[in-house]
Symmetry: C2
Subunit: 147 residues, 2 copies
DNA sequence: AGTCTACTTTACGTAAACGTAAGGCTACTC
DNA sequence: GAGTAGCCTTACGTTTACGTAAAGTAGACT
């Protein structure tokens, strides 16, 4: 179950050698075309052009997916762009750049680790509320039984 | 290490029966006073008033901590407020309300679960980039050795 | 030829989450 | 008693991430 969208197991199949219109991608990932164009404007996507219309390849689709994932985690588009560019132009040449990138990676990883802790903490609090709810419900049910 | 801030293990000690000024809280959690006042305006905090100045108790501090945690996870202040109010006025009376709250809890939990999946996916991608970086570095180092 | 339908650009509008400046009160402290 | 520090309110400004409307184009159907 790699996907959030209804597309289910289609991912493996239509990877590679397919193209998409903006509308197809929009429906698939439940965003508007406007959003997709905006991401392009922000340097997150670079679709091909056939005349005036945009043609999206799987590379673009994956980028979009990555972008939406980042958004769900509360990253800004600027941060997501940074990661995407990390991913795409891993600098094969310069050693200083490579080491700097490893630093950035560490930083991002730290952020994710913090998020994991945050999620755990919130889950505990939800557990707490739920327990109190169920207690209250149990009390109500007992009251009904003894009436 | 329950805390993000430098306060380290102070939490257990100064819980209960202490009060804070807005500046103290701001420094402690690395936000501005303006932010704290804004959260109050949005119904996330309800500090005591001594004359004109705000007095924060541990209850408020915990709420602030919860709020910032939610923010790090990309929740909106409106969503966070919802959770906080869940936490505070767990409706002890109405059964319908209780069941509705359990539904909301399920929903929030689902969101957190999705976040966990997102984080895993991103971590994998970071691993990927890192591996390629290290490969490149290794190549460079071999080139140097053979020169 | 006309009419959908889906794409395009341009551009102004908007909600959320604060930043920032202006002006004022209160309580030390030199 | 003049300053300085820390709090306050009011209010306008700003950034991010789009929404939404207007007007135009390009292909497919009838």
């Amino acid at each position: 179950m790699p996907e959030t969208t209804p597309a289910s197991s289609a991912d493996a199949h239509d990877s590679n050698r397919r193209t998409y219109t903006i509308g197809e991608l929009a429906r698939r990932y439940e965003v508007t075309p406007r959003t997709i164009r905006f991401y392009e404007q922000e340097g997150l996507l670079e679709p091909e052009r056939r005349g005036q219309t945009r043609i999206y390849h799987d590379k673009d689709r994956v980028r979009l997916k990555l972008t939406l994932r980042g958004k769900r985690l509360g990253f800004s588009l600027a941060e997501i762009r940074e990661v995407i560019h990390l991913y795409d132009h891993a600098p094969d040449g310069d050693e200083r750049q490579l080491r700097r990138m490893l630093d950035i990676l560490d930083e991002k990883r730290a952020a994710l680790t913090q998020q994991l802790r945050d999620i755990q903490a919130l889950q505990n609090e939800l557990d707490d509320v739920e327990a109190r709810c169920r207690d209250s419900l149990a009390v109500l049910s007992r009251q009904r039984a003894s009436s």
